[in-house]
C-alpha cells in the first residue's frame, strides 16, 4: 500500500511540476521582458534559469518529504497521506511562486529608477 502511495505522489508531483513550470514560463515571459527593459535574450535566459531552479527546488522537496514511517496502512490512511503530501507540496510551490513575483517586482522597480536618476 505504501508503494502505491509513493507512486501516486511521485506521479502527481511530476505532472503538477511540469504543468506549473510551463504555465509560469509562458505567462512570466512578457513580465520578464518588461523587467529587463525589453532585452529579450536576457529575459529568455532568466526564464530558463528560473525554470531549472523551480524544477530543482520541487524535485528536492518531493524527495525530502517522500518517506513515511508507517507500515500496514489501510485505504483511508493511504488517501489521507497522498492528499496531505500533495497539499504540502502545492502550498510550498504557491508560496515560493509569490516570493518570486515579489522579487521580480522589486528588481523591476529598482532597475527602472536608474535611468530616471541619470537624466
Amino acid at each position: 500500500m505504501l508503494i502505491g502511495v509513493y507512486s501516486i505522489y511521485l506521479l502527481m508531483s511530476c505532472l503538477l511540476t511540469v504543468w506549473v513550470a510551463k504555465t509560469l514560463s509562458i505567462s512570466g515571459r512578457p513580465f520578464l521582458v518588461q523587467v529587463f527593459h525589453r532585452n529579450e535574450s536576457t529575459a529568455d535566459a532568466v526564464n530558463q534559469l528560473l525554470i531549472v531552479g523551480f524544477y530543482l527546488m520541487n524535485a528536492g522537496f518531493v524527495g525530502i518529504t517522500l518517506r513515511e514511517h508507517l507500515s500496514g496502512i489501510d485505504l483511508k490512511t493511504a488517501i489521507e497521506l497522498v492528499s496531505c503530501k500533495i497539499g504540502r507540496t502545492i502550498t510550498v510551490l504557491g508560496i515560493m511562486h509569490f516570493f518570486n513575483l515579489i522579487a521580480l517586482c522589486w528588481i523591476r522597480d529598482h532597475r527602472k529608477a536608474i535611468p530616471q536618476k541619470r537624466c
Binding site: V20, F31, Q34, T91, H97, K112
Partner: protein, 145 residues
C-alpha cells in the same frame, strides 16, 4: 464504513476543488481590469501578471483543500458524513475567501499609479528608456542638431 469514508472524501474533494477553480476563474477574468487602470503594466504584461497571480492563488488554494482532507474520527453514518463535510468545507471555503480578499488587495495595488520617481512602463517608454536618456542629453548639449 470504507465506502462511506471514501464517498465523504470524494464529495469534499470535488466541492473544495470546484470552489477553488470557480474563484480562480473569476479572479482571472476580472483581475485584468485592475491592471488597465494603473500605469505600471502595459497591455502585454497586465494580463500576464494577473495570470501569474491567479496561478499562485490556485496553487495555495488547491494546497489548502488537499492539506485539510484528513478526517480524524471515523465516519460511519450519513449524519456523521454531513457533519464532517460541513465542518471541513466551512473552514476551507472561509480560508479561500480570505485568500480571495488578499488577492483583491494585490489587484488593487496593481491598479494604482506608479510613484512619482518611477516612469510609466508602456512598451515605447521602456524600450526607449536608456536611448531616450542619451538622446535628451545630446539634444540639451547640441540643440541645433
Amino acid at each position: 464504513m470504507t465506502t462511506m469514508i471514501i464517498s465523504t472524501y470524494a464529495i469534499y474533494a470535488i466541492t473544495g476543488i470546484g470552489v477553488a477553480i470557480w474563484v480562480a476563474r473569476k479572479l482571472d477574468i476580472h483581475g485584468v481590469t485592475f491592471a488597465k487602470n494603473g500605469d505600471r503594466y502595459d497591455t502585454e504584461t497586465g494580463p500576464a501578471m494577473s495570470h501569474l497571480l491567479v496561478v499562485g492563488f490556485s496553487l495555495v488554494a488547491f494546497g489548502v483543500v488537499s492539506l485539510a482532507l484528513g478526517i480524524g474520527s471515523n465516519v460511519q453514518t450519513v449524519q456523521q458524513c454531513i457533519e464532517a463535510l460541513s465542518s471541513k468545507l466551512g473552514w476551507v471555503i472561509m480560508i479561500i475567501g480570505m485568500l480571495h480578499f488578499l488577492m483583491l488587495t494585490v489587484f488593487a495595488a496593481m491598479g494604482r499609479k506608479a510613484p512619482a520617481g518611477l516612469a510609466p512602463t508602456t512598451a515605447t517608454n521602456v524600450s526607449a528608456a536608456p536611448l531616450g536618456t542619451v538622446a535628451q542629453l545630446v539634444n540639451r548639449l547640441h540643440p541645433n542638431e
